[in-house]
Amino acid sequence: MTTQTQAHSESHVHRDDIGARLGMWLFLFTELILFGGMFLVYSIYRFTHPEEFHVAAKELNTIIGTFNTIILLTSSLTMALSIVAIQKDNKRLSIFFQFLTILLALFFMVNKFFEWSIKFHHGIYPGSDTLLNEKSGEILFFGLYYVMTGLHGLHVIVGVAMIAFMMRFTSNGVVTHDNFIKLENTGLYWHLVDIIWIFLFPLFYLIT
């Protein structure tokens, strides 16, 4: 839209920022249903296998989990600050905050990589012999752990790509102090990813 309309004078540009944000929220609701379905499956299996979930969760490292929670919460802060910065017409600061957000997201993924590597090293991965010899509740727990944190990780990667585009848009003037809806919607997406982790963290790491 922007590339086509930039040639026109400001008064002729048709914009509907509220509509754009509402559209983003509607998309976020589909994400809510996607993850909500998984949380439903989790809650039922935890209800039917409470002891086995309890035992399986002991394998997870609470310190890495807490650390990643802090990283993701901080990345949400830097994302929100980048929007304040662009509103104040401070382009460089906005780009810097977006860069910090990407950096924190990558840090999160590196931790996730080491966490999963250690699990794999211990023979705990979907379909492994070690895991298949455990009780069914433990197999379910790790199945859900890999699918839910895996899908969340995928969202983090998508978020990084989107913020990278926003850094470019901010530097070349597509995102400006009076037209930052793209950055705003990217922020909405990023905060949703944060909210999902806010629920994943206690459900997987804190049930021991």
């Binding site: 914009r15 509907d16 920022d17 919460l73 909210i195 629920f199 206690p202 049930i207």
Partner: protein, 97 residues
């Protein structure tokens, strides 16, 4: 259509976001600390209440629901309402099996 271009009516400030971030960190500390206590079946409920409080902060401040028009809040409440129905019906079924 002109008023739809107004993104946020009040002047933005960094302070509120840093304050909310500190609140989120405090709640994270709280949930980790409470998980260490042995409070039996209240463990899950406590963890979920704290997580909901954190999600509320992110939704209202970071995601700007507080400064949006009421339409947005109604949308979010309706979406959460249907998710809640799914949970209630599922557990209504499983609890009496």
């Amino acid at each position: 259509m002109k008023e739809n271009n107004v993104q946020h009516e009040h002047s933005p400030s960094y302070g509120i976001y840093i304050l909310v971030w500190l609140g989120l960190l405090a709640l994270t500390g709280l949930t980790v600390a409470v998980a260490g206590l042995d409070i039996g079946r209240f463990t899950v409920a406590t963890a979920m209440i704290i997580a909901s409080a954190k999600a509320f902060l992110v939704l209202t401040i970071f995601m700007h629901l507080k400064s949006e028009s009421k339409t947005f809040t109604v949308f979010v409440i309706v979406a959460l309402f249907f998710l809640a129905i799914s949970f209630i019906l599922l557990f209504a079924d499983y609890s009496f099996k």
